[in-house]
């Protein structure tokens, strides 16, 4: 087994060091309004417990992160998204 480990080959070269730069998808795609009536879309910005993901992870700009937050809160109020949950995805 030890001999095998030395000969591991990757189909694609593993990415080391350089990471792709994150971007704000709302700016990139020109989305200017975030709809609270679309829970499937908002789900992308939530973790499994239904909590809002930080900008650090999603890469949203501050302007649109605020709008995402607003939309998620509205969706929660009208029962389209849960306030607290487990295993949402």
């Amino acid at each position: 087994m030890a001999a095998n480990n030395k000969n591991i080959r990757f189909l694609t070269a593993p990415k080391i060091g350089r990471r792709d730069k994150k971007f704000c998808r709302f700016k990139k795609y020109g989305i200017r309004y975030i709809d609270y009536k679309d829970p499937d879309f908002l789900m992308r910005f939530l973790n499994e417990q239904g909590k809002l993901l930080p900008r650090r992870i999603t890469g949203n700009s501050l302007k649109y992160q605020r709008k995402v937050g607003q939309a998620v809160k509205r969706a929660r109020q009208i029962g389209l998204l849960p306030y607290v949950t487990d295993l949402m995805k």
Partner: protein, 130 residues
């Protein structure tokens, strides 16, 4: 004149006639107070994400309208008296929201979303690889 969007959740046990009566009531209220209806959508019965007043389903109804701000105050008083409505929300729409809703009505949003979804799944696959 402002643009508003009202979304209400009705009690799931009421009959179809009662649904029509309640939505009709609010529609009349809007027009009587000098507003006009832009769009109306009946989403029908839907599962709630969490129980509201011990109910797990609700009948969703969406009304988009324009009118003076006083309508909202009048309607909010009515909502409190109305026990058929279990939850409601009025949001003011900015110009981007109005634009979005127009596109949504024409069915243009879905197409963009599909492209977006494809892009997102590709990005997710890339993340997994990395």
């Amino acid at each position: 004149m402002n643009n508003y969007e009202l979304i209400m959740i009705l009690n799931p046990v009421i009959s179809e006639e009662e649904v029509r009566a309640t939505t009709g009531k609010y529609r009349d209220m809007m027009t009587a107070a000098g507003g006009s209806i832009v769009n109306e959508e009946a989403w029908g019965m839907r599962q709630l994400a969490y129980p509201i007043q011990k109910k797990t389903t609700g009948i969703y109804h969406l009304l988009e309208f324009t009118g003076p701000g006083e309508i909202v105050d009048q309607m909010e008083i009515q909502f409190k008296r109305d026990d058929v409505i279990i939850r409601q929300m009025i949001t003011r729409l900015d110009k981007f929201a109005v634009e979005y809703n127009e596109k949504r009505r024409k069915g243009e949003i879905g197409k963009k979303k599909q492209a977006f979804v494809a892009d997102m799944t590709a990005a997710a696959a890339e993340n997994k690889e990395a």
